[in-house]
């Protein structure tokens, strides 16, 4: 091909400069890209991601808070509606952070566009954090909405803002990771509904969202203490209302421990290619 005969295409391609980018720079841009894409996904399908949990939680407030709550009176020294508000916010965070990552990661695995990330020079660390940012964003967005709803039914307090905020973010990260792990192992749609239905829902309902464990007999109190979600709900309730069934230090250790364990596991599995590479 003569120089003068080269088409515009060829010239455009020849102009391609190839600056060497450091791996750190690549991963930072890559992380921003994944996070941006995940958040955009949440907002794009807001009818599926944001509205349903807001409606469910509103119903909980109407039924358990206003209607039944009035007959219950107080629990742990606060009106019942106030008592359940932190638990319901926490429940929304757990379900939505988990649900976001499990469905986003699983569908990208199923449609195979996860390969777009797998062929790129991104570390697995970046990929995990990127998906976690998506899950945390949706969890917090829904939490904010549920908080607004709750304010129509009760006077919310914020005794320890730092505790409240750090617990909610940590819990969102833990359940984003749990969703990621579920998606890594899942082979079909059944596999991504088993964990939320048979594990997450029971643990959440029994995790002290609707009751104080002081209502339980000593035996059942001990059983309840084996449930990690109990610690999360109580730490969060402590942040808002200043009352908790559980010492705060233990709750934080359990939450941070769960985060580190799940994060490590996710890194190892993605690195090995479990469930995504033959």
């Amino acid at each position: 091909m003569s120089a003068s005969g080269r088409s515009a295409t060829s010239q455009a391609l020849a102009g391609a400069a190839r600056p060497e980018r450091s791996l750190l720079a690549i991963n930072l841009v890559g992380l921003g890209t994944i996070a941006h894409k995940e958040v955009r996904r949440v907002l794009r399908i807001w009818v599926q991601t944001i509205i349903p949990p807001a409606i469910t939680m509103t119903l909980y407030f109407i039924i358990f808070g206003s209607l039944i709550g009035r007959r219950i009176g107080e629990m742990d020294g606060v009106p019942y509606t106030t008592f359940i508000a932190p638990g319901l916010i926490m429940m929304a965070v757990i379900q939505n952070s988990f649900g976001n990552v499990v469905s986003s990661f699983f569908s990208s695995k199923l449609q195979q566009h996860l390969e777009e990330m797998l062929v790129a020079p991104l570390s697995v660390f970046t990929i995990v954090i990127g998906f976690v940012i998506g899950g945390v964003s949706r969890g917090l967005l829904v939490a904010a909405l549920v908080t607004v709803v709750a304010m129509f039914f009760t006077d919310l307090r914020l005794e320890y803002p730092l505790v409240t905020f750090s617990v909610i973010v940590l819990v969102a990260m833990v359940f984003s990771l749990a969703g990621l792990l579920n998606a890594i192992f899942a082979r079909n749609f059944d596999d991504i509904s088993i964990i939320p239905t048979f594990v997450l829902a029971p643990l959440t309902y029994l995790g002290g969202v609707f009751f104080s464990i002081s209502l339980l007999t000593p035996f059942w109190q001990n059983v309840a203490l084996a449930n990690p979600i109990l610690y999360m709900v109580n730490a969060f309730r402590y942040g808002m209302l200043g009352a908790s069934d559980i010492p705060l230090g233990i709750a934080f250790s359990i939450i941070v421990g769960a985060f580190l364990a799940l994060f490590g596991l996710a890194l190892v599995l993605l690195h090995r290619g479990t469930g995504i590479r033959s």
Partner: protein, 308 residues
């Protein structure tokens, strides 16, 4: 520097299918190389290993000198890949698909948007930029995947059967584009089961069958080999030297057999005339089986069975 080096690459899948039985391949920088073979030969597996989508069982892979075991990220940064199966996010707009892919390779956002425009225009998809992939035709999806592979401007472009299932017109335009991309200095490796495609585009060719590379040569040499047929002739009398026959290449196999290479279409009458003139009596004759030839017969059959 070589764009790609494979050494003793093997792959045994979990279900104990051996897809690659130790392949060696070197592709020089700037080359346009075909990896040709029938379905199930192991092409996609080899590409999968090079692009980090399949774990290898053993062997070595180096991309522009970056060993995949030691510098996987650096190797990945050099490659752009167009997979055999459509793997687009069906609900993402074309423009965003490219911007995201550029981002995964570390191209900063503003530059990524410029690149997305450049490559959408190049692939004639600019007016589809706001469509989601699901709405595109098969040919457009294929083009979008090519644009996606180019958006970070890789030094090595790998295409796994890029024209399978696209109509003839689009196939031609993809061929033209690939020639130009190669002309701009990008090394291209293309897998195909169409000999015609390899012949049209590629300078070098590796032919793979049942997980083994059975031929790796320049396109010209392979075509020459294919255009010749070899016959083995058994003679009545013993001879101790191959006869010189005008226009034919003759080789002595043993004292009773000679092997004659004949260009396709050359005809055999003159051969027998020449032999008679030297009073060499032929007692029998057979075609020499040639693995390359056999493979091509299968490829041709394959092609006829594949709906176009």
């Amino acid at each position: 520097m070589d764009a790609l080096v494979l050494e003793g690459l093997t792959k045994v899948y979990g279900n104990s299918v051996t897809a690659l039985k130790g392949i060696d391949l070197t592709v020089a920088e700037g080359d346009f190389c075909a990896l040709l073979g029938p379905n199930g030969a192991g092409k996609t597996t080899a590409i999968g290993i090079v692009t980090s989508l399949v774990n290898k069982t053993s062997g070595k892979v180096a991309v522009f000198g970056h060993d995949l075991d030691r510098e996987r990220e650096a190797a990945k940064a050099c490659i752009g890949v167009v997979p055999q199966e459509v793997n687009l996010n069906m609900f993402e707009k074309c423009f965003n698909t490219l911007v995201n892919q550029a981002g995964y390779y570390g191209v900063p956002a503003r530059l990524a948007r410029r690149r997305a425009e450049k490559y959408l225009r190049l692939l004639h998809l600019w007016d589809k930029r706001d469509e989601i992939s699901r709405k595109l035709s098969g040919g457009m999806k294929r083009r979008l995947m090519i644009a996606r592979a180019l958006v970070h401007e890789p030094r090595l472009l790998i295409l796994d059967e890029p024209t399978a299932g696209v109509d003839i017109e689009i196939r031609r335009s993809i061929w033209d584009l690939m020639r130009e991309i190669n002309g701009s200095g990008v090394t291209i490796i293309l897998t195909t089961h169409y000999l015609e495609e390899a012949e049209h585009l590629c300078r070098n060719i590796a032919i793979i069958d049942e997980g083994t590379i059975i031929e790796n040569d320049s396109m010209t040499n392979v075509i020459r080999k294919l255009q010749r047929e070899a016959f083995v002739l058994s003679l009545q009398e013993r001879i101790n030297e191959a006869p010189m026959l005008d226009g034919y290449t003759v080789r002595l196999r043993n004292d009773r057999e000679i092997e004659v290479e004949v260009a396709k279409g050359q005809g055999l009458n003159r051969l027998f005339d020449e032999l008679s003139a030297r009073s060499l009596e032929v007692s029998s004759m057979r075609t020499k089986t040639n693995r390359l030839e056999e493979l091509f017969m299968r490829l041709v059959e394959n092609k006829q069975m594949t709906p176009q």
